[in-house]
């Protein structure tokens, strides 16, 4: 009986193609936009995620998220180090700036000054050079994609120089740093070097990165730092979430993506709903005939749902496959979309959404199937 029902479905090739296209389109649009949205939100906190050894981020009390920097006095570092449960604490300088090559090519850059001694906070993925080379005069680490934008077509090579606020910076390390939210080039250097590169006011300390001792958990140490110093102190996870929440609440990004996702769902469900309705309407005499030859309404609903499931699975497979291909080929390690991907939970979520969409589309048609009068076979459609 199942094979018969499947044959009935595929007997109407044009309609099946329409249904599959509708589901595939909705799946592709929703999955692709959701992937881009999550990728963008992930980017906003990449600097936090890259500092893998760090448990706690400490900042000025007025700072809400990563990209808002209000420098603190250098002495705050020593106060944090004095809080019980803090294993170590190091400074981090963070500033937006611009860089210029000898050829005159200018790009926006994110400058991160890490602790001179420990170099904590440098991207752990080093492609060329040694992290210790950052101790050389004017040394900087630059990310691969930034390098390719500054020197397009040239092979990765150490020793290149940049103009950074009228000061000479020498590339001694090339990293594979995760992309930042807006800057095109990501530069790591020593804290002391960073301050020299970027003119600042009296205070320079953007963040304090701290590690909790083994006997304390990071959250309680963060609370202790806040209580003792009056500064904001969050665990790395908390600070990531706060940063993402800030962008969600204060930018048009979520609305923009949500609109596209919603449109994808509306257009997809309209195509699927209308085509499936047409499919059911055209097949009503056949459903009626099935009732005449002894198929109960419950079984008939099962058969219609099976047809919808087959169409849904085919459309979903095509749509999610296309979305995966998009991220595979568009989000290459050197492209502007690097780091964007299609996580399993988005694929699952989209699958659940599409399943719901198909169930709703099917439900609107099922009424017709349920009330398809078997007498229709005698009199035609009534």
């Amino acid at each position: 009986m199942l094979s018969i029902v499947i044959k009935m479905l595929f007997g109407e090739r044009v309609k099946v193609l329409g249904l599959v296209f509708g589901v595939a389109f909705a799946t592709l649009l929703v999955a692709q936009q959701a992937g881009l949205f999550v990728g963008l939100m992930t980017r906003s906190q990449n600097v936090i995620a890259e500092a893998t050894d760090v448990d706690i981020w400490v900042m000025d009390p007025s700072v809400e998220y990563l990209d808002l920097v209000r420098p603190m006095r250098d002495t705050e570092l020593y106060r944090v180090r004095g809080v019980p449960g803090v294993a170590w604490a190091v400074p981090l300088f963070k500033s937006a700036t611009s860089v210029k090559t000898a050829e005159g090519r200018t790009k926006s850059a994110l400058l991160l000054g890490v602790d001179d001694a420990s170099l904590t906070g440098v991207s752990p993925r080093i492609l060329l050079g040694s992290i210790l080379d950052l101790r050389r005069p004017d040394a900087i680490a630059i990310d691969r994609v930034g390098y390719m934008q500054l020197w397009p077509g040239e092979p990765l090579m150490l020793g290149k120089t940049l103009d950074l606020n009228d000061r000479r910076a020498v590339v001694t390390v090339i990293t594979d740093a995760a992309p930042a939210f807006s800057a095109q080039v990501i530069i790591h250097t020593r804290y002391s070097q960073a301050i020299a590169f970027v003119p600042t006011g009296r205070n320079q300390l953007s963040f304090i990165l701290a590690k909790a001792t083994a006997e304390f958990d990071a959250a309680s140490v963060a609370r202790a730092i806040s209580a003792r110093t009056g500064l904001n102190a969050f665990t790395a996870e908390e600070f990531s979430s706060r940063t993402i929440r800030y962008y969600l609440k204060n930018t048009g990004i979520p609305i923009s993506f949500a609109t596209t996702i919603l449109l994808g769902m509306v257009v997809g469900s309209a195509i699927v709903g209308l085509t499936f309705n047409m499919f059911v309407t055209d097949n009503l005499p056949q459903y009626a005939m099935l009732k005449v030859i002894g198929v109960t309404s419950g079984r008939l609903i099962g058969l219609v749902l099976l047809q919808a499931t087959i169409v849904g699975l085919m459309g979903y497979a095509i749509g999610i496959g296309l979305a995966a291909l998009f991220f595979e080929y568009a989000a290459t390690p050197t492209s502007a979309l690097r780091g964007f991907n299609l996580p399993w939970w988005i694929a699952s979520g989209v699958g659940a959404t599409i399943a719901l969409l198909i169930v709703l589309s099917t439900l609107t048609s099922l009424g017709r199937v349920l009330f398809a009068q078997p007498a229709m076979v005698f009199w035609g459609k009534r």
Binding site: I4, L9, V292, I293, G294
Partner: protein, 243 residues
């Protein structure tokens, strides 16, 4: 599960008593069958004849359990349809009734053999046996080698034979045919009726044919005349011969 009932010989295969059926909604509701009594016996081909709109199709729809009577009772082989629920009637019909319809209603996406197999698959019979039964029925109706063809690849006459094969595939106790010759010329109509008599009439089976085609009256064992929702006359074979 709805049982297939073997009736005692004196019990009519179909017994309708005081059947009233109204069709239409609200102010357009009209009574089509007016307290109709009818007996149809197994081992005979019974023709139900009458002018268009007299209630023939409504009556056979009600007998097949497709429509429910508003009043009165219908018994098929001793089983009161009123005692079966909606699902029970559907299953009872699936086991005990075969239908040959004027518009045939073959499934275009299925081959001839699959169309014939459908009632057996609905009864969840073994697919291998179903395939063998479908092939044997098609062969018996002169359609050997046509099993893999789709309805669109068959002539109207061949499609009609596929529809007949489908109606008898599950060996039903009652076969109802609705205007089986309406779309056919005289010769083809007689061929179809010959075939119907040959493959359907059996001592344990009742065959009820709705028609207003006078050319096929001589195939009937009994002719029930209807007009305005009532039985007006019944002719038996002996009466026909005498006439």
């Amino acid at each position: 599960m709805s049982p297939t009932v073997e009736p005692p010989p004196e019990v009519p295969a179909i017994a309708c008593r005081g059947v009233v059926k109204q069709l239409g909604r609200r102010k357009f509701r009209t009574e089509v069958l007016h307290g109709l009594d009818l007996d149809v016996y197994a081992g005979q081909m019974t023709l139900l004849v009458g002018p268009s709109g007299c209630g023939k199709t409504t009556l056979i729809s009600t007998i097949a359990g497709i429509l429910r009577p508003d009043r009165g009772s219908i018994s098929l082989f001793g089983t009161e349809l009123a005692n079966l629920g909606r699902r029970g009637i559907t299953r009872f019909r699936g086991r005990n009734v075969g239908l040959v319809l004027q518009q045939l209603h073959l499934f275009p996406a299925l081959t001839a053999a699959e169309n014939v197999a459908l009632p057996l698959l609905v009864l969840r019979q073994d697919p291998a046996r179903v395939r063998a039964r479908a092939a044997s029925l098609l062969e018996g109706l002169g359609l050997a080698g046509h099993g893999d063809k789709y309805p669109r690849e068959l002539s109207v006459g061949e499609q009609q034979r596929v529809a007949i094969a489908r109606a008898i595939a599950h060996d039903p106790k009652l076969i109802i045919c609705d205007e089986p010759t309406a779309a056919l010329d005289a010769t083809s109509g007689r061929l179809v009726m010959q075939l119907l008599r040959q493959v359907t009439v059996r001592s344990d089976r009742a065959v009820l044919v709705v028609t207003h085609d006078h050319r096929i009256f001589d195939f009937a064992d009994r002719i029930i005349h209807m007009d305005d929702g009532r039985i007006t006359r019944i002719d038996t074979s002996s009466e026909k011969e005498a006439a």
